[in-house]
């Protein structure tokens, strides 16, 4: 149970599964998933649409920078489904992080809509987005962002303080294979170990989605493999929708689907029928 009562009413699992119970005022009308046809959408996925965890429609993001404005996203349509392992590829500056941050409720698009299940994230205010992140999202960042003043165990236990049904911290550490190191501070761990702690922290709350922005960006190949393995493990064992941004195209071979971005748009979505485990990736 969180410290503060949940303001937008993600009260229990049932509320989340029952459409429109709480957020009717946000959506205005009953939305029974109108068939928004995306040209890149694979038709075989259409029947899964009711399972979509995220429905992104026409999302643009413009950063006004004085005279010129930067168009980070120029109209993105995308559905993401429960239990998927999705990899996003794309050149630097193509808008990957921007999209991920919008999915994670850290940022709001300039236009378009982003639905998490029935909840329109674009209309959620700061507090509502905080509770959305708190209850549903696990983040993993390129630079780990662990709290230096807390031990590995405490970093993981931190989310247990606010999550509704957390994993026992030691359990989360076991999932990333670091329960031995629980009493070490981040400064006493290698980069890869720190990143695995970060993963343990992200999954500690049993999130519905795990969003990873270049989780291996700061790591060497060998360590990167271990980290990716940990992520894939979580995806498999907990069935968490996992989105991984990377610059490394070979990582795409692990994914269910690979989304390629270019200049703020999705340029391709590929289904990967032949997934291979992290350890067999060729970099």
């Amino acid at each position: 149970m969180g410290i503060v009562a949940n303001p937008i009413g993600f009260d229990d699992e049932k509320a989340l599964r029952t459409p429109n119970r709480v957020l009717q005022r946000n959506t205005g009308s009953t939305r029974n998933s109108p068939k928004v046809q995306s040209d890149v959408m694979d038709s075989s996925l259409l029947d899964m649409e009711s399972d979509a965890v995220f429905r992104v429609r026409g999302v643009t993001k413009i950063y006004p920078m004085g005279e010129v404005s930067v168009h980070a996203l120029r109209g993105v349509d995308l559905d993401l489904y429960a239990g998927e392992f999705v990899v996003i590829l794309g050149a630097s500056g193509s808008g990957k992080s921007t999209l991920l941050n919008i999915l994670g409720g850290l940022d709001v698009p300039t236009a378009g809509s982003v639905y998490f299940r029935d909840h329109d994230l674009t209309r959620a205010d700061e507090d509502e987005r905080t509770y959305y992140r708190r209850d549903h999202v696990g983040f993993v960042f390129q630079f780990y962002n662990l709290i230096a003043g807390l031990t590995a165990y405490e970093n993981v236990a931190l989310v247990a303080d606010i999550a509704k049904a957390p994993l026992p911290p030691i359990e989360a550490l076991r999932l990333v294979g670091l329960e031995e190191r629980k009493d070490h501070y981040p400064s006493q761990l290698s980069g890869g170990e720190q990143q695995r702690i970060a993963i343990a922290r992200a999954i500690g709350k049993r999130p519905d989605v795990l969003l990873c922005d270049e989780p291996t960006g700061a790591l060497d190949v060998k360590t990167g493999v271990i980290v990716l393995d940990a992520i894939a493990n979580v995806n498999r064992q907990l069935g968490t929708l996992t989105v991984v941004i990377t610059h490394n195209a070979s990582i795409a071979q692990m994914a269910d689907r690979v989304i390629s971005m270019k200049d703020g748009r999705i340029s391709a979505i590929e289904r990967n029928s032949n997934q291979i485990p992290a350890s067999q990736l060729v970099w």
Binding site: V4, T130, R134, Q142, N145, I147, G149, L150, I162, S187
Partner: protein, 789 residues
Amino acid sequence: MQYLDRMLWYDLKRLWRQEIAIAILVACGTAIFIMATSSTLSVETSQKKYYADYRFADLFAGLTRAPMSLKDRIEEIPGVLQAQCRIEHPALIDMPSMVEPVSCRLVSVDRDAETALNGICLRSGRLPEPEQDKEVIANELFAAAHGLRPGDSIDVTMDGRKDTLRIVGIGMSPEYVYAVQPGLLLSDNRRFGILWMPRKAMEGAFNMEGAFNSVAIRMESFASEKQILFELDRLLKPFGSWGAYTRSDQSSHRRLSDEMHQMRAMAYVPPTIFLAVSSFLVNLVLTRLVHQQKDQIAALRAFGFTKWELAIHYSKLMLVPVLIGCLIGAIVGIRTSWWMVDIYAIFFRFPAMAYRVAYSEGVFAVSLSLLAAVLGGANAIRTVIKLQPAEAMRPDTPQVYGKLLIDRLGLGWSLSTMTRMILRRLTGAPGTTILSVLGIAMGVAVLVLGSFMRDTIEFVLEVQFGRSQRQDVMLTFNDTLSADACHDVLHLPGVHRVEPFRSVAAKVRNGTAEHRLSLMGLEPEPYLYRVLDADHRPVSFPSNGGVTITKKLAEILRVRRGEFIDIEILDGKGITVRAVVSHVFMNYTDPACYMNRGDLHRLLKEGEQLSGAFVSVAPGAMDELYQAVKEVPKIAGVLDIRAAEKNFRELVTEHTKIMRLMNSIFGALIAIGVIYNAALIALAESGRDLATLRVIGFSHREVSFILLGELAALTLLAIPVGLPIGILFSYFATLALDTETHRFPLVIHRSTFAYAATIILIASSTSAWVVSRMLRRMELVSVLKVKVS
């Protein structure tokens, strides 16, 4: 160099919050210092000029009566330049606007008033005609209090006879810069005045033809004061002199000196605190900055900047706010010193007030502030100088936190992770935590220091007026009166109880230590005018019971209870006696000495001769009594204790209120300065962690808890540390304020502690609120993009 200047400008802009905090503290310290030193300088300059222009005497002596022929012999004493032989006498004025009689002091003026010592500075009107026996000059404040102007008449009872005198002039004299009724601490211009009257008229009124009872002396420069005093005492003793004294025992001069003494104490204590705290802030800010910019410093060194150039760069960064603070402090200090001088001018009267600026002290203050900043920054600057470029490029050796005490005690389970974060931060840099706590504690201490006076004065008033002096009125007689007179007084209307007393000028001595005072003979078991011992029990004065003296007198004479002192009665008869000190008690005004009244009569070889009486009056009968007293010629002085208390309260309460307000502001500023800085640093140091927590899903409130929890912990630690420091400061303040005429006990109520704590909590919450708003505005996403070393 240009590059460094740009960097300086950039850092100054970036650190503006901290710079302002430092500048404000420095400004407060400098302002108080310059205010106190400049106003003392102004008052002392005015005083000096006044004394010189109007020939304020150097030595004084009072006696019973001596022939005018003695004047020449006085002037023959080597070192004496000029002697002024006057008649002075208390009298009562019947002001139509007041029920109670007004006490006044009549002072004779000679024909040579224009050139005489203790000259009168006329504000309006003229000097009285020497041959006119009904013309007087009234002192300025008294005249103002009653709206008297030249040409007005007043009824004065002199030595039993009532007469109508005409005011021909309004004036002032260096002798009465502060005119206070004998026996009182503070002036009350409605109830006490000075009247200057031609000698001839005084001689007639007080039966003093060809005689005088008061001498004032001007010495040659470099004459031996001691020698003259000795000769003077020898010469005047047969005429009932109660001892010659210097300016430092002259009531007006002493009052003014005491005031200046206290002002000077104020010039040093609070500014020191401010400077100490600002020095600490400089330390905090600069150390952090240098640590943060280690890479940059290393890079600059690699580019070829010398270590001294860099050291100077970082020093400049701190000297700028200090100099700005000094500048603001100087302006505010000078401005408030004028205001202060104007306040002094309400009570201390000079013909003209000089507004001076204490330049050398100002320079001193600025240098001291700079020194404080340099000391505060020394550590950081040393780091800059010592920094090896190659080494600095390497990342910091990671900090490994020790185990929390609470974990070692096995109580770790009771902590939430967020509480842990707070504790780790507090214990991770214990030096900074300790300094922060001390800094905030200084704020608490200043608040206690600024407020305790109220409790102390309340206590003194309670002891003095509530428990000790329970009479309503003290009457003093023209001369001593027989016991029958006491009987008369008892039968004045409204009188409830009468307690007669005998007082006589005496010199008390122990070896070489001596003190002049008025020796009082009291009833064996006084009911109205009581002396209270340490347990607040009344002291009794049995026959042959020795003397009871005040603690201050015991200190002056260096005697203890059970030891002996010599008492010399100064009435010209040369009576000396040795008496045992049977009690020493604490009082808060002049040193005093009491004994059994019968014993005193026997010592003086007299019958029941009374000097005055303490009287309690039936409720509501005060006016009646006053009406009657005005008709009783033998009464020379009336001292209304309740009115005195009221007057005291009005004057002092106003004063302490202002002091309390100012000190509250100062204390709060210190606390805010420290807490705000601690908060900014916490925000900068753990901002990334806090943003990460926000990203993970902690709410603003929860994340604030970590930041504010740290500040709350600092504040809550500082309060118990600050209160004892405040007590210590207050104790030092009582020592600094301790003069012969008044001393202050250290009394601090719990409510004062509560007040100090409350103000600090408010100050702390305010800073916390501001920083919490900054936290709310923090960019979350940007925090994730940068790598930390």
